[in-house]
Protein backbone atom coordinates (compact mmCIF):
# COMPACT_ATOMS: atom_id res chain seq x y z
CA UNK A 1 0.00 0.00 0.00
CA UNK A 2 1.70 3.21 -1.13
CA UNK A 3 -1.12 5.64 -0.37
CA UNK A 4 -3.27 5.93 2.72
CA UNK A 5 -7.03 6.19 2.34
CA UNK A 6 -7.16 9.97 2.79
CA UNK A 7 -4.46 10.62 0.21
CA UNK A 8 -6.11 8.27 -2.23
CA UNK A 9 -9.51 9.93 -1.83
CA UNK A 10 -7.96 13.37 -2.24
CA UNK A 11 -6.08 12.38 -5.37
CA UNK A 12 -9.10 10.62 -6.87
CA UNK A 13 -11.23 13.70 -6.19
CA UNK A 14 -8.56 15.83 -7.81
CA UNK A 15 -8.56 13.50 -10.82
CA UNK A 16 -12.33 14.07 -11.13
CA UNK A 17 -11.66 17.83 -11.29
CA UNK A 18 -12.63 18.65 -7.72
CA UNK A 19 -11.22 22.14 -7.08
CA UNK A 20 -11.32 21.80 -3.30
CA UNK A 21 -9.27 18.61 -3.51
CA UNK A 22 -6.65 20.40 -5.58
CA UNK A 23 -6.62 23.26 -3.03
CA UNK A 24 -6.05 20.70 -0.27
CA UNK A 25 -3.17 19.07 -2.17
CA UNK A 26 -1.69 22.50 -2.81
CA UNK A 27 -1.98 23.42 0.87
CA UNK A 28 -0.23 20.21 1.91
CA UNK A 29 2.67 20.41 -0.52
CA UNK A 30 3.23 24.10 -1.30
CA UNK A 31 6.12 24.64 1.15
CA UNK A 32 7.87 21.49 -0.01
CA UNK A 33 7.64 22.47 -3.68
CA UNK A 34 8.59 26.11 -3.11
CA UNK A 35 11.55 25.24 -0.85
CA UNK A 36 13.11 22.89 -3.38
CA UNK A 37 12.62 25.48 -6.13
CA UNK A 38 14.14 28.25 -3.98
CA UNK A 39 17.11 26.19 -2.84
CA UNK A 40 17.79 25.08 -6.40
CA UNK A 41 17.42 28.48 -8.08
CA UNK A 42 18.50 30.74 -5.21
CA UNK A 43 16.05 33.36 -6.47
CA UNK A 44 12.55 33.84 -4.94
CA UNK A 45 10.98 35.06 -8.18
CA UNK A 46 12.38 32.12 -10.17
CA UNK A 47 11.29 29.80 -7.36
CA UNK A 48 7.74 31.13 -7.73
CA UNK A 49 7.84 30.42 -11.47
CA UNK A 50 9.10 26.88 -10.86
CA UNK A 51 6.53 26.21 -8.11
CA UNK A 52 3.74 27.56 -10.31
CA UNK A 53 4.82 25.37 -13.24
CA UNK A 54 4.99 22.37 -10.94
CA UNK A 55 1.43 22.80 -9.66
CA UNK A 56 0.10 23.46 -13.16
CA UNK A 57 1.82 20.25 -14.32
CA UNK A 58 0.35 18.46 -11.32
CA UNK A 59 -3.10 19.67 -12.32
CA UNK A 60 -2.70 18.61 -15.94
CA UNK A 61 -1.01 15.25 -15.22
CA UNK A 62 -2.83 14.10 -12.09
CA UNK A 63 -5.06 11.90 -14.25
CA UNK A 64 -1.92 9.95 -15.25
CA UNK A 65 -1.06 9.16 -11.62
CA UNK A 66 -2.04 5.53 -11.05
CA UNK A 67 -0.80 5.11 -7.51
CA UNK A 68 1.96 2.62 -8.32
CA UNK A 69 4.50 5.01 -6.80
CA UNK A 70 4.16 7.11 -3.70
CA UNK A 71 2.45 10.43 -4.47
CA UNK A 72 5.29 12.40 -2.83
CA UNK A 73 7.85 10.70 -5.07
CA UNK A 74 5.75 11.53 -8.14
CA UNK A 75 5.46 15.15 -6.98
CA UNK A 76 9.20 15.36 -6.27
CA UNK A 77 9.87 14.21 -9.82
CA UNK A 78 7.62 16.99 -11.14
CA UNK A 79 9.54 19.60 -9.10
CA UNK A 80 12.94 18.24 -10.09
CA UNK A 81 11.96 18.28 -13.76
CA UNK A 82 10.58 21.82 -13.47
CA UNK A 83 13.85 22.96 -11.87
CA UNK A 84 15.93 21.35 -14.60
CA UNK A 85 13.61 22.67 -17.34
CA UNK A 86 14.03 26.22 -16.05
CA UNK A 87 17.75 25.69 -15.85
CA UNK A 88 17.85 24.43 -19.45
CA UNK A 89 15.80 27.43 -20.58
CA UNK A 90 19.00 29.36 -19.93
CA UNK A 91 17.72 31.77 -17.34
CA UNK A 92 20.37 33.60 -15.35
CA UNK A 93 19.83 33.03 -11.67
CA UNK A 94 21.25 35.25 -8.98
CA UNK A 95 21.26 33.55 -5.63
CA UNK A 96 19.69 35.65 -2.92
CA UNK A 97 19.28 34.98 0.75
CA UNK A 98 15.87 34.73 2.31
CA UNK A 99 15.17 35.67 5.88
CA UNK A 100 13.22 33.05 7.75
CA UNK A 101 10.66 34.25 10.20
CA UNK A 102 11.83 33.35 13.67
CA UNK A 103 11.93 34.59 17.23
CA UNK A 104 15.63 35.51 16.95
CA UNK A 105 16.90 39.02 17.66
CA UNK A 106 17.65 41.34 14.75
CA UNK A 107 21.40 40.71 15.15
CA UNK A 108 20.92 36.95 15.26
CA UNK A 109 18.71 37.13 12.19
CA UNK A 110 21.29 39.23 10.34
CA UNK A 111 24.07 36.78 11.25
CA UNK A 112 21.86 33.87 10.27
CA UNK A 113 20.99 35.61 7.04
CA UNK A 114 24.69 36.08 6.25
CA UNK A 115 25.44 32.42 6.93
CA UNK A 116 22.40 31.29 4.99
CA UNK A 117 23.29 33.51 2.04
CA UNK A 118 26.84 32.24 1.99
CA UNK A 119 25.75 28.59 2.16
CA UNK A 120 23.01 29.19 -0.42
CA UNK A 121 25.48 30.82 -2.83
CA UNK A 122 27.99 28.04 -2.36
CA UNK A 123 25.34 25.40 -3.01
CA UNK A 124 24.11 27.36 -6.04
CA UNK A 125 27.57 27.06 -7.60
CA UNK A 126 27.41 23.28 -7.57
CA UNK A 127 26.59 21.45 -10.79
CA UNK A 128 22.81 20.88 -11.09
CA UNK A 129 23.00 17.11 -10.49
CA UNK A 130 25.05 17.62 -7.31
CA UNK A 131 22.90 20.53 -6.14
CA UNK A 132 19.67 18.59 -6.49
CA UNK A 133 21.02 15.70 -4.43
CA UNK A 134 22.12 18.13 -1.69
CA UNK A 135 18.69 19.81 -1.65
CA UNK A 136 16.74 16.54 -1.53
CA UNK A 137 19.02 15.35 1.26
CA UNK A 138 19.15 18.49 3.43
CA UNK A 139 16.01 20.46 2.59
CA UNK A 140 13.75 17.41 2.37
CA UNK A 141 15.79 15.05 4.56
CA UNK A 142 15.23 12.13 2.20
CA UNK A 143 17.14 8.86 2.34
CA UNK A 144 19.54 7.78 -0.39
CA UNK A 145 16.98 5.24 -1.61
CA UNK A 146 14.22 7.87 -1.83
CA UNK A 147 16.50 10.28 -3.70
CA UNK A 148 17.53 7.47 -6.06
CA UNK A 149 13.87 6.66 -6.78
CA UNK A 150 13.08 10.31 -7.54
CA UNK A 151 16.11 10.87 -9.75
CA UNK A 152 15.86 7.46 -11.42
CA UNK A 153 19.41 6.43 -10.62
CA UNK A 154 21.03 3.81 -8.35
CA UNK A 155 21.55 4.69 -4.65
CA UNK A 156 25.30 4.33 -5.25
CA UNK A 157 25.14 7.24 -7.70
CA UNK A 158 23.35 9.33 -5.08
CA UNK A 159 26.06 8.48 -2.52
CA UNK A 160 28.86 9.38 -4.90
CA UNK A 161 27.21 12.67 -5.93
CA UNK A 162 26.65 13.58 -2.31
CA UNK A 163 30.24 12.70 -1.49
CA UNK A 164 31.52 14.94 -4.31
CA UNK A 165 29.19 17.74 -3.21
CA UNK A 166 30.37 17.45 0.41
CA UNK A 167 34.01 17.73 -0.63
CA UNK A 168 33.36 20.78 -2.79
CA UNK A 169 31.22 22.48 -0.14
CA UNK A 170 33.72 21.74 2.62
CA UNK A 171 36.56 23.19 0.57
CA UNK A 172 34.57 26.32 -0.29
CA UNK A 173 33.13 26.88 3.19
CA UNK A 174 36.24 25.89 5.16
CA UNK A 175 37.44 28.59 7.54
CA UNK A 176 34.14 30.43 7.37
CA UNK A 177 31.60 28.22 9.04
CA UNK A 178 32.98 24.66 8.92
Amino acid sequence: MVLDANDRELIEACQRGDHDAFAALFETHQNRVYSIALRFSGDPSVALDIAQDTFLKLLSKISEFRGEAKFESWLYRLVVNSCLDHRRAGRKWTPLATLRASGDSVLQRLLRSEVEESVQQTVAKLAPELRMVVILRYTEELSYDQIAEILGCPPGTVASRLNRAHKLLERRLRGKYV
Binding site: Q30, V115, V119, Y138, T139, L173
Partner: protein
Amino acid sequence: MSKSLETLLHEELGRVPAPAQLWDRVQLPRTPRPAASLRLAWAAALLVVSAVGLHAFLKSEAAHSPGLVRLQAACHLCHGGDDLQAVTLRGVY
Protein backbone atom coordinates in the same frame (compact mmCIF):
# COMPACT_ATOMS: atom_id res chain seq x y z
CA MET B 1 31.53 29.73 14.37
CA SER B 2 32.52 26.24 13.44
CA LYS B 3 30.33 23.20 13.03
CA SER B 4 30.13 20.11 10.94
CA LEU B 5 29.16 20.51 7.34
CA GLU B 6 26.11 18.27 7.72
CA THR B 7 24.74 20.29 10.64
CA LEU B 8 25.34 23.53 8.74
CA LEU B 9 23.54 22.25 5.63
CA HIS B 10 20.61 20.94 7.68
CA GLU B 11 20.26 24.33 9.40
CA GLU B 12 20.77 26.62 6.43
CA LEU B 13 18.99 24.71 3.68
CA GLY B 14 15.78 24.03 5.58
CA ARG B 15 12.28 24.46 4.26
CA VAL B 16 10.85 27.94 3.82
CA PRO B 17 7.16 28.90 3.69
CA ALA B 18 5.74 29.48 0.24
CA PRO B 19 4.54 33.06 -0.35
CA ALA B 20 0.76 33.59 -0.45
CA GLN B 21 0.95 34.81 -4.04
CA LEU B 22 1.79 31.27 -5.21
CA TRP B 23 -1.85 30.24 -4.85
CA ASP B 24 -2.97 33.28 -6.87
CA ARG B 25 -0.50 32.39 -9.58
CA VAL B 26 -1.68 28.80 -9.69
CA GLN B 27 -5.26 30.02 -9.91
CA LEU B 28 -4.45 32.58 -12.64
CA PRO B 29 -1.60 31.19 -14.70
CA ARG B 30 0.55 33.59 -16.67
CA THR B 31 -0.74 34.15 -20.17
CA PRO B 32 2.00 33.08 -22.56
CA ARG B 33 3.52 35.93 -24.51
CA PRO B 34 3.06 35.61 -28.28
CA ALA B 35 6.08 34.42 -30.19
CA ALA B 36 8.43 37.03 -31.65
CA SER B 37 7.51 36.04 -35.23
CA LEU B 38 3.81 36.56 -34.47
CA ARG B 39 4.51 40.00 -32.98
CA LEU B 40 6.57 40.88 -36.07
CA ALA B 41 3.74 39.78 -38.39
CA TRP B 42 1.26 41.96 -36.48
CA ALA B 43 3.61 44.96 -36.73
CA ALA B 44 4.07 44.42 -40.49
CA ALA B 45 0.30 44.12 -41.02
CA LEU B 46 -0.28 47.33 -39.06
CA LEU B 47 2.35 49.13 -41.14
CA VAL B 48 0.76 47.98 -44.44
CA VAL B 49 -2.74 49.01 -43.32
CA SER B 50 -1.43 52.42 -42.21
CA ALA B 51 0.40 52.95 -45.51
CA VAL B 52 -2.68 52.03 -47.58
CA GLY B 53 -4.88 54.30 -45.48
CA LEU B 54 -2.47 57.23 -45.76
CA HIS B 55 -2.18 56.75 -49.52
CA ALA B 56 -5.96 56.73 -49.97
CA PHE B 57 -6.31 59.81 -47.77
CA LEU B 58 -3.66 61.80 -49.69
CA LYS B 59 -5.17 60.77 -53.02
CA SER B 60 -8.66 61.95 -52.04
CA GLU B 61 -7.26 65.19 -50.60
CA ALA B 62 -5.38 65.88 -53.83
CA ALA B 63 -8.45 65.13 -55.98
CA HIS B 64 -10.60 67.59 -54.02
CA SER B 65 -8.03 70.34 -53.75
CA PRO B 66 -9.34 73.74 -55.13
CA GLY B 67 -5.83 74.53 -56.31
CA LEU B 68 -5.85 71.46 -58.50
CA VAL B 69 -9.24 72.42 -60.03
CA ARG B 70 -7.85 75.85 -60.93
CA LEU B 71 -4.74 74.22 -62.40
CA GLN B 72 -6.89 71.87 -64.50
CA ALA B 73 -8.96 74.83 -65.81
CA ALA B 74 -5.80 76.66 -66.79
CA CYS B 75 -4.41 73.63 -68.58
CA HIS B 76 -7.65 73.25 -70.54
CA LEU B 77 -6.76 76.53 -72.27
CA CYS B 78 -3.73 74.96 -73.95
CA HIS B 79 -4.39 71.23 -74.00
CA GLY B 80 -8.10 71.19 -74.77
CA GLY B 81 -8.92 68.36 -72.35
CA ASP B 82 -7.38 65.28 -74.05
CA ASP B 83 -5.88 63.03 -71.38
CA LEU B 84 -5.77 66.07 -69.16
CA GLN B 85 -6.79 64.11 -66.06
CA ALA B 86 -3.95 61.66 -66.59
CA VAL B 87 -1.44 64.44 -67.28
CA THR B 88 -2.57 66.42 -64.22
CA LEU B 89 -2.49 63.42 -61.92
CA ARG B 90 0.95 62.39 -63.18
CA GLY B 91 2.10 65.95 -62.47
CA VAL B 92 0.67 65.90 -58.95
CA TYR B 93 2.12 62.51 -58.10
